[in-house]
Amino acid sequence: MSPWNDPRVRSFVFQGFLILVIGFLIYEAVDNASDNLRRQRIATGLGFWDSPAGFPISQSMIFYSETSSSYGDAFLVGLLNTLLVAAIGIVLATVLGFTVGIARLSKNILVAGIARWYIEIIRNLPLLLQLLFWYNAVLKALPGVRESAALPFSSFLNNRGLFMPKPLPGAGFDYVLIAFFVAVAAAIGFRIWARRRQERTGLQAPVGSVTLALLILPASLVYVALGGPLTFDVPTAGRFNITGGMVLQPEFLALLFGLVIYTAAFIAEVVRAGILAVSRGQTEAAFALGLRPNLTTKLVIVPQAMRVIIPPLTSQYLNLTKNSSLAVFVGYPDLANVFTGTVLNQTGQAIEVVGITMLVYLTISLGTSALMNWYNSRKALVER
């Protein structure tokens, strides 16, 4: 047999050849790039990191000043803004997605129909178009400051954003928080106690209503007892401006609305598929054993549906996070906008800036995946 007909020899030769080709391409790319950078006199390295940025950012969760902050600070502001919109977006999209997904399966024709049309329309329109719609056609089209729409709780909505009262915790508000956290601990304790008691005696406890009561009552009682140690800085409409309170800017709202509504439509389908994946036989077996529908849902359907739901849900979370980089089209200062936008323009160091940004998104995405995979592996079915 000629050695050329030996599959091991063949695969060795092919792979060796492939490595050579890839190595050559990488060498050429790096060589070319450094050559061109030198010729155009573009600096390399991270020297720009501590240089003054000199440009304003419209929304910042940390101190940032146009005059004194560095590119590094701008990076941090962008990163925090990305994480903010992604975190809030994931929570809201999950709540909305599960609600719509369950509504889609409702026996009520109207509820199921609305959910179905919501999913069909939102899922089939490009996200960018939806973001532009929310920003330009809804939020920017709102009346100006003087004609602000007054909302409940002294809030105002106009084309500069949503103005809301800003809570100012007074003396003693710490005790309200302490009462709340103690109550949360107590609720967890009650759950454990109720489970142990059921194992021991078979008696069931109203865990749901007790938890709800614990979450609301102690904190409210302490709050009232201390005479309401929380004041609000209420926004007031002046002639040209609204002063006081806090504001959610239209850029942030448009991006959040767009991402939440878009992603929720996909999550709704994931949830629906997960519930439908649990066979009818499971419900019948539970019914035949005398389990009521609510217990069947809790003990039989949800645990099985979650296994189907979690992996695609993870990829929806990743999609939402990555899609938040479309912020640049509505002017929200997220990482992609601030860093690969303004910072890149000013420094010209495309390789470093884009590279860092890629690393950041990779880290966020892989972190989310790792967390969800860990959760999934704990819930996975045992077969064989």
Binding site: R200, G202, L295, V382
Partner: protein
């Protein structure tokens, strides 16, 4: 018993009290008339085998007994309780009636032991330890106590079906329904499941069993019922049923399944 069911539809052992009574039961799936005027009385402790061609309504018949299917006309009285839309009554009946399915329908996310203790814990409000004792008792009876901590996916079909029987027995039902319990099994596993059912029958459990295992029918049934097109065509003791079927349709069916 006041209904005037024709001979053969009355229980074979009249000395017992009634476990299930069906009077003029009708059911439709849309236009399809799946059960037509079913009159059937089953005594406590009686073992009834239901057979018939596919689509004859035999599964639907027993699924009406524990309200997995709703009947639209007629009356069904189980253990002295009439099935209506009253949820309390449905709960009551489901607690007394166990059911074994063709595809086992074990809960794949729970261990064998948890499969067996789920309903006792949540429906009968049993302490976990007691429920586990009961479960181990029945798992021992179906001869697989050593599998208790495995998951359904790790068991063979025959083992899974025996677990399903044990799971039903943990609720101490008065009546057991079997919906083609051996149809989804590999041939070499049919016997272990049938043996379990025979043992159960010998202990005096009231059983309705939809099956084509005619050997099982001969061995344990008090009555064999043949259904076709939603009707009970013929009901008789196994001896008579197999030796001298009265109706042409029964004869045809038997000639097809008894080679």
């Amino acid at each position: 018993m006041t209904n005037t069911a024709p001979a053969g539809l009355k229980p074979a052992k009249l000395t017992h009290e009634t476990a299930i009574e069906m009077i003029g039961v009708n059911k439709w799936y849309g236009e399809f008339h799946v059960l037509r005027d079913i009159d059937l009385t089953i005594a406590r402790g009686e073992r009834v085998v239901v057979c018939g061609p596919s689509g004859s309504g035999k599964s639907t018949l027993i699924r009406c007994v524990n309200r997995l299917e709703e009947h639209q006309k007629g009356r069904i009285i189980v253990d002295g309780v009439e099935l209506t839309n009253d949820l309390k009554r449905i709960d009551e009946i489901r607690r007394e009636v166990g059911m074994v399915f063709q595809h086992f329908n074990l809960f794949p996310h729970l261990t064998i032991l948890e499969n067996c203790t789920l309903a006792p814990i949540w429906v009968k409000k049993m302490p976990k330890k007691d429920a586990e004792e009961v479960a181990m008792h029945y798992l021992t009876r179906v001869k697989i106590p050593e599998q208790a901590l495995k998951y359904p996916g790790q068991l063979s079909g025959g083992q899974q079906q025996r677990v399903a029987i044990a799971r039903s027995l943990c609720m101490s039902p008065k009546i057991m329904l079997f919906d083609e319990p051996t149809s989804a099994l590999d041939p070499e596993m049919v016997k272990e499941v049938l043996d379990t059912m025979v043992a159960l029958a010998e202990e005096g459990m009231t059983m309705i069993c939809v099956t084509h295992e005619m050997g099982f029918a001969r061995q344990v049934a008090d009555r064999v019922i043949f259904m076709d097109q939603g009707q009970i065509v013929e009901a008789n003791t196994p001896d008579e049923f197999f030796r001298d079927p009265r109706h042409e349709r029964t004869r045809l069916f038997l000639s097809q399944i008894l080679h």
